[in-house]
């Protein structure tokens, strides 16, 4: 299995299925044909499942050891790995605070079998992201965090059991449509929060906090299964919108009536940050974290508008700017992310809160970009077609004919301004160079002049008057040539006694 994975370098012989069945292979299937791949994949999946169970057992053992160590703190544990020592320390810390929950979670760590051979095979996933390539580590981490969060809670054990059971059951529902999966998860959220409210008598804020953690835990573990699932056409939509945004590269700030002035450094800084945040959304796993990226992006947009307009932004300013940011950023897997958030986010947050507001705006921006036509950019449909087909660009209005109006020429003037600036800079540099050359020759002339003067002074004065004259010359011009001339002509030197020579003494 591992040797086949290295088949990235493709030569002629590798075009055929590696099993030698005579059919053509596919690099996406590790060089196998579809039939052999299915067989192979089945085996890998089995192996993956076994490994997952092994991991689950190991985790459980570690938890139990950590638990046991709490009761025998003095006893040494040679078999424990460094990690479980850490775990043990953590548990010790916890145990001082928690007295009601003792052995709640120890027998309960199990990891559900993961789909496909994802961690072993980064080539097969449609668009691998850094976080997606190590799901088991992330899942373990999420599980631990979740447990730590629930430990001090009265109903923690119950909540964890339900979440784990539900998460595991979801794995077997892989064949379900995305909408059904979404319904399952949403029902689960609703059920759980109702139970928390009624049975465990939590305040609505507490319930909210617990539900956030539940979402985090479940979605981190289910991400691989439910993000852009094969049963939907999310991926196709992703590509469509990506292509669409690329085709719209010519849209300018002016066409969208975006009230930001990117020449102000703080504004362009905010714009860059907004773009970074909306792109970052794809790297998060938890719907809430994804929403957080959108909200941060929106806050930067508001800042950009505020600085440009010097007044608070309204939705009339915000939406066009968001559209502009999305066009500039072309965020990866945009539709998949939107669908994922819609399907699996806690609905109360999505429908009413601040995150929900910004998310709705993002949905609007995407809808606008999809439906965008000439009219919505104040262009005639002919212009729009020309721009879309790449036959003309608003940046070169000549080719678009005489009709090109403000939007293109604005960009053009900006280019012209830039060019003018560059020519100006060139000229100034030339001038600077010229001046520098002049200065150089001036300096040379000057030293010569000084030298000459010194010479003439030396010639015209008697040796007695030489010293003060030299001093004045040296004072005005500390040129080395002048100084050495004075030194070499110093007649008094000859009158001095010879320098002392070191002598060797016998003692």
């Amino acid at each position: 299995m591992m040797s086949q994975r290295r088949g990235i370098h493709l030569d002629q012989s590798e075009l055929l299925c590696k099993k030698g069945c005579g059919f053509y292979g596919n690099t996406g299937w590790q060089g196998l044909c579809s039939k052999c791949w299915r067989e192979e994949n089945q085996r890998e999946k089995q192996k993956q499942i076994q490994e997952d169970w092994a991991l689950a057992e190991r985790l459980q053992r570690e938890e139990e050891e950590a638990y046991a160590s709490r009761h025998q703190k003095t006893q040494s544990q040679p078999a424990v790995t460094p990690f479980s020592k850490f775990e043990e320390r953590k548990t010790k810390e916890k145990s001082s605070k928690v007295n009601t929950v003792t052995k709640f979670f120890s027998p309960s760590i199990k990891t559900p079998p993961k789909k496909d051979a994802a961690p072993f095979d980064p080539h097969s996933s449609p668009s691998p992201s850094s976080s997606a390539s190590r799901p088991s580590v992330d899942s373990d981490h999420a599980t631990r965090e979740f447990i730590d969060f629930l430990k001090p809670l009265k109903s923690g054990r119950e909540v964890f059991k339900q979440c784990r059971a539900f998460t595991e059951s979801m794995v077997y529902k892989r064949e379900m449509g995305a909408d059904e999966l979404s319904e399952c998860v949403q029902d689960f959220y609703q059920n759980l929060s109702e139970r928390l409210q009624t049975q465990f008598k939590g305040s609505s804020d507490q319930v909210e906090t617990v539900m956030d953690e539940v979402e985090k835990y479940m979605m981190t573990r289910l991400y691989k299964e439910v993000f852009c699932p094969e049963t939907t056409d999310d991926e196709k939509k992703d590509l469509a919108i990506q292509k669409r945004i690329r085709a719209l590269h010519w849209v300018t700030i002016e066409m969208l009536c975006v009230p930001v002035d990117e020449e102000i450094p703080e504004v362009s800084d905010s714009v860059v940050k907004a773009i970074t945040d909306v792109i970052e959304m794809d790297s998060k796993r938890v719907p809430k974290a994804k929403l957080g990226c959108i909200t941060r992006c929106s806050k930067h947009i508001f800042n950009a508008i505020k600085v440009s307009k010097k007044e608070a932004a309204s939705a009339d300013d915000f939406l066009p700017t968001l559209i502009y940011i999305v066009l500039k950023a072309n965020p990866p897997r945009l539709q998949s992310n939107i669908q994922y958030i819609t399907r699996f986010c806690n609905p109360s947050r999505l429908m009413t809160g601040e995150d929900g507001y910004y998310f709705t705006n993002l949905c609007c921006a995407v809808a606008f970009i999809e439906k965008l036509d000439g009219q919505s950019l104040n262009l005639t449909s002919e212009e729009f077609e020309l721009y879309m087909s790449g036959q003309a660009s608003p940046h070169w209005p000549q080719s678009a004919g005489a009709s090109s109006s403000s939007p293109g020429s604005a960009a053009l003037t900006q280019v012209h301004k830039g060019l003018d600036l560059l020519t100006g800079l060139g000229e100034r540099q030339e001038r600077v160079m010229e001046k520098a050359r002049q200065l150089e020759s001036d300096l040379i002339d000057w030293t010569d002049e000084v030298e000459q003067k010194v010479q003439s002074v030396l010639e015209s004065f008697t040796p007695e008057a030489q010293n003060p004259a030299a001093a004045t010359a040296g004072g005005t011009a500390p040129a080395p040539s002048g100084a050495s001339a004075i030194d070499s002509d110093n007649v008094e030197n000859e009158l001095l006694p010879p320098p002392l020579q070191p002598q060797v003494f016998a003692g």
Binding site: S314, E354, C364
Partner: protein
């Protein structure tokens, strides 16, 4: 860090520059802003707690873009809204035509959304009666016809602004318990079956 919990979503609808943002600004910050002095970062979304009887209701007030180019998307905005404040400029008859458009949209798409008609800039009319282009009684009739509440407000003086939002909160509070159960229309018995008890076999 976590944002304020919001009970009800309220959307502001209305043509550009009828004063949606000013209305929210006046209500939330009790001020009317003219010129470049502003220190809020943006008034597009506000969560505002309101005392209703012995309860506190938090309204999430959503500002929307009023430009016609975004008309097609307005449906995304008011999805799930409990109340919609449809604004029109008392001195601009075209803004009222747009308001009628949103009312129709809301009636078609959001049956649970209560509609509040709000004529803005009433201070202008106080100054000069001839500026009024929308007759009060005509609007009142229209409001009754569609089962909506009708207010005329001034964000500059603050006239009627608090009353409008207070009414929104009160109506929500009165109606809240009715919607709670019928909102999703899910079969509770079925859910319990499939996700809480049937999964015990995994343990």
């Amino acid at each position: 860090m976590s944002a304020m919990r919001v009970d009800a979503k309220v959307v502001m609808l209305g043509k550009e520059s009828v004063g949606k943002t000013s209305l929210v600004e006046r209500y939330v910050h009790h001020r009317f802003l003219v010129g470049p002095y502003q220190n809020t970062i943006g008034a597009a979304f506000v969560a505002k707690p309101i005392q209703v009887g012995d309860k506190v209701i938090t309204l999430g007030i959503w500002d929307t873009a009023g430009s016609e180019r975004y008309e097609a998307m307005s449906r995304i905005y008011y999805r799930g809204a409990r109340a919609a404040i449809v604004c029109y400029d008392l001195t601009d008859s075209s803004s009222f035509e747009r308001a009628r458009f949103w009312v129709k949209e809301l009636q078609n798409c959001e049956e649970h959304c209560k509609i509040y008609l709000c004529g803005t800039k009433s201070d202008l009319i106080l100054g000069d009666k001839n500026l009024r282009q929308i007759d009060y009684h005509d609007t009142q009739d229209f409001a009754e016809e569609i089962g909506a509440q009708h207010f005329e407000t001034s964000s500059k003086t603050g006239n009627n602004v608090d009353e409008l939002f207070q009414k929104v909160a009160e109506d929500y509070n009165n109606a809240a318990f009715q919607y709670m159960t019928e909102e999703k229309g899910v079969d509770l018995g079925l859910k319990k079956d499939s996700y809480f008890y049937s999964c015990c076999h995994n343990n």
